[in-house]
């Protein structure tokens, strides 16, 4: 076997096997360097994978050489490749910039374990994405969850502990619900392989255990993905986590759960369940709409800048769910694109926040008056990513919002309602981004005795890379669009 065919496996095992080595790297900075190297290598692997599947083919890998329903199979298609790019990209970018901020927040002797947990989180998320086996997804979900509990518990405030405890309880309930659902499907089909499940579920699709399984899997994954109203753990966890961890998790953690949800709902349940449309139309779509409106509205009144952005993530997850619930090619494509673009925008925003947090400990918005005078570059990057989050033409965020609006209009006579919701919530996004910008640029500067300067170069450069990526993918969205198009085709092709 050549290297290319090993790529799906390498995607997971490079970060996973690096993690135990990182624990042993004690001298200063070495753990960071090792972790960053591993993350960069896996980012390179995901780029190679994306190139390999750009043409529309799927790369599969039989773990241990055993054929598919008996052994564990990995498969990487357009959708997985795009999500992999997001996951590994977020990890690589955040790790590149992490050192100054992490040095400030985590004691030196605990850092090797921290970076090791970070790599395990990356390996877990990548493992979920490449896996084509329902139970294997559970195992890697647990690796990534445990790792993210550890990472969030690194937050310096004591409230971080409470936030992470809540997250642990919610996350475990979500994962166990997923496990119950998988068990029920296994009971009725006798297989764990997703493709095999799909072909065998047809005979039993209308039996009660499968219907209940669909419910359990949807609720379990919705809990993990923080779909409204199961999002209560998210704002606290994101606010209290170390700043660089917020960058990493906000960009990719919940998206991976959504990815699994979409995969299950479109590939396993879709072809056989007559109620499938209803499931989306009656449950997920209203939740998505409510989530968009309520979370955007709440975000307008949040005081802490990290909490504000975390709450806004719940609304953005609503957009992704809304696109998926149209059950149309355009809708799914918009949804997949938004996974990518929101990661760019939110990752960039949290990076900028991390820059600010490096100099200012208090992140309440009214305390940040006039920061732009001392940190002009950071604030400019923040504005750029903010524009992308709102969806101003020329930024990446615009592409997916535009796709979403087109898909809404195509979705039927009530399409204008969805368009209205999207527009209203975009206006709300303008309001909450403006609150930050107003404070940063025009707020009265409080008396600060400490020397305030621009953020360290390492942080700043990476922040600007992320900000410019928002611009770049606003003007040249061809590659992610091709992957999303490919993904939507595959997902919808199963149904029709």
């Amino acid at each position: 076997m050549d290297l290319i065919s090993h790529l799906p496996a390498l995607q997971v095992i490079v970060p996973m096997l690096s993690a135990p080595i990182i624990v042993l790297l004690h001298p200063r900075g070495l753990a960071w360097a090792g972790a960053t190297l591993a993350a960069l290598v896996s980012f390179a692997i995901s780029i190679a994978l994306a190139v390999a599947v750009l043409g529309g083919e799927t790369q599969t890998y039989a773990m241990g050489g055993w054929p598919a329903p008996f052994g564990i199979a990995l498969s990487v298609g357009g959708l997985s490749a795009l999500v992999l790019l997001v996951v590994t990209g977020a990890a690589a970018i955040a790790l590149l910039a992490a050192r100054p901020s992490i040095d400030q927040q985590i004691e030196l002797e605990r850092q090797p374990m921290f970076y090791s947990a970070w790599l395990l989180g990356l390996a877990g998320l990548a493992g979920i994405v490449v896996s084509a086996d329902a139970f294997n997804i559970f195992v890697f979900m647990e690796i990534s969850s445990l790792a993210s509990y550890v990472l969030i518990a690194g937050g310096p405030d004591r409230r971080a502990l409470l936030a992470v405890f809540k997250y642990l309880i919610m996350g475990t309930i979500g994962a166990t619900f997923y496990l119950i659902g998988v068990g029920l499907i296994y009971m009725m089909t006798g297989t764990l392989n997703l493709a095999d499940m799909e072909s065998r579920i047809g005979d039993v699709a209308q039996t009660r255990p499968v219907l209940v399984a669909a419910g359990f899997i949807t609720i379990g994954l919705a809990l993990k993905a923080a779909v409204f109203p199961l999002h209560v753990w998210l704002p606290n966890a994101y606010t209290q986590a170390p700043h660089m961890i917020t960058v990493f998790l906000a960009a990719c953690a919940t998206k991976v759960s959504i990815y699994v949800l979409i995969r299950f709902d479109y590939m396993v349940f879709q072809p056989t369940m007559a109620e499938h449309d209803n499931q989306f139309a009656l449950f997920l779509m209203p939740l998505a709409l409510l989530g968009i409106l309520v979370a955007s509205a709440v975000a307008m009144f949040e005081g802490n800048i990290k909490r504000l952005l975390g709450t806004s993530s719940v609304a953005q997850i609503g957009y992704i769910m809304l696109g998926a619930s149209f059950i149309s090619l355009a809708g799914v494509e918009a949804s997949v694109m938004h996974i990518f673009n929101h990661a760019l925008a939110k990752g960039g925003l949290f990076l900028a926040v991390a820059c600010i947090a490096y100099r200012f400990r208090d992140l309440r918005i009214q305390e940040l008056g006039g920061v732009a005078k001392t940190m002009p570059f950071t604030c400019a990057a923040l504005v750029l990513c903010g524009l992308s989050l709102i969806g101003i033409p020329g930024t990446a965020g615009f592409i997916s919002k535009w796709l979403l609006i087109t898909a809404s209009l195509e979705s039927g006579p009530f399409g204008w309602i969805f368009v209205a919701v999207i527009l209203v919530s975009s206006l709300m996004a303008v309001v909450y981004i403006w609150r930050i910008v107003e404070s940063l640029y025009f707020g009265g500067s409080a008396n600060r005795d400490t020397v305030i300067a621009e953020a360290p170069l390492q942080l700043l450069v990476v922040t600007w890379i992320a900000a410019l990526a928002n611009l770049y993918f606003g003007f040249f969205p061809e590659v992610p669009l091709a992957l999303a198009d490919n993904a939507a085709g595959v997902l919808m092709g199963y149904g029709k």
């Binding site: 076997m1 095992i13 773990m63 241990g64 052994g71 374990m113 921290f114 445990l146 296994y186």
Partner: protein
């Protein structure tokens, strides 16, 4: 007969679960939880799952209880009265219970040989294992070869938990060490438990090793062995004091076991890749694929045992060190 027995055990399970939730003393709850796990293990055994029963007894009833007790020693023993909020919880779980029971009536009956789970993938394992891997215990074959990747993931779950606990509780031993009073060093003043315990420790470790290396032929394997050996060392720590256990197996060795075990497992996979197979395809390790499979399974089971044993002991010591520091 066994059917009636299993009905009895299952009903007992429910009663104990209710008692656990009702008990206001957390110590009582934890001990009942241990009994709950033991009953669960008995149920698993009746349901023909010997490996799972062994694991549940060692991990669920043994290790979990120890970890709970060490956490209780650091926090509070009693639970405060809860006011309000019960009705909503009751309604929510009531709905959930009826939903699951609603689903049961179209499930295959217990032991139905025509159930899909006995028709599709499982017969292949039972039929092909003698040919491809040739070890008697199919559970070990599935665990370490057909679904070896899951097991690798599981080792890394344990690894994550281990470094997580070390990270959260702080890896450095507390500064107060060394000047503890001798009174608290284990059970030194209890002659009888100490004598009996000392006698048992080597046998427990021996049994652990038996479970480790007999896993291909009977119930057992790396996880169970790791948990049993860890129990033996924890018993030693309880008898002789935590410091003595740390002198016998220092923290660095434990960390080495965890890291080494995880890397050994992963390393075997990588070697398979270099030798031209897929990741974790042990067939390529030897010229005869069956021998290769068996060699691979022995090595990765050793890796699993090391990692699990090291991780559980590290977690135990992390809690115990806090206790002394307080």
């Amino acid at each position: 007969m066994i059917f009636v027995f299993s009905l009895f055990l299952l009903s007992l399970l429910i009663i104990i679960a209710i008692a656990i939730v009702q008990a206001k003393n957390l110590f009582v709850s934890v001990m009942l939880l241990s009994i709950f796990s033991l009953l669960m293990a008995t149920n698993f055994f009746i349901l023909d799952a010997a490996d799972v029963a062994l694991t549940e007894a060692a991990v669920g009833a043994g290790i979990t209880t120890v970890i709970f007790l060490s956490a209780l020693a650091l926090t509070a023993q009693r639970e405060r009265k809860v006011v309000g909020g019960r009705t909503i919880a009751l309604i929510a779980v009531g709905v959930l219970a009826s939903l699951i029971i609603y689903a049961t009536f179209e499930k295959p009956r217990l032991g139905d040989p025509n159930a899909p789970v006995h028709q599709h993938v499982a017969p292949w394992y039972l039929e092909k294992t003698p040919e491809y891997i040739d070890i008697p215990n199919i559970v070990t074959a599935v665990l370490s070869s057909y679904r070896g990747y899951d097991t690798l993931g599981e080792v890394f779950v344990v690894f994550t938990a281990c470094i997580g606990v070390l990270f959260i509780l702080g890896a450095k031993p507390a500064s107060l060490r060394g000047e503890r009073n001798v009174e608290r060093a284990g059970l030194r003043h209890h002659l009888i438990p100490q004598v009996v315990g000392r006698l048992l420790v080597p046998f427990i470790v021996l049994f652990g090793l038996y479970v480790q290396f007999h896993g291909e032929y009977g119930p057992g394997g790396g996880f169970q062995a790791g948990a049993i050996i860890a129990t033996g060392v924890i018993l030693y720590a309880l008898l002789e004091g935590e410091a003595a256990a740390l002198r016998a197996i220092p923290r660095s060795v434990l960390l080495g076991l965890v890291v080494g075990g995880a890397l050994l497992f992963g390393g075997v996979g990588v070697v398979c890749m270099f030798m031209g197979g897929a990741f974790l395809d042990y067939s390529v390790l030897q010229s005869d694929p069956v021998w290769g499979q068996q060699l691979g399974i022995v090595i990765i089971e050793a890796g699993v045992g090391m990692a699990v044993c090291g991780a559980l002991l590290s977690i135990f010591h992390a809690f115990a060190a806090r206790e002394i520091a307080q």
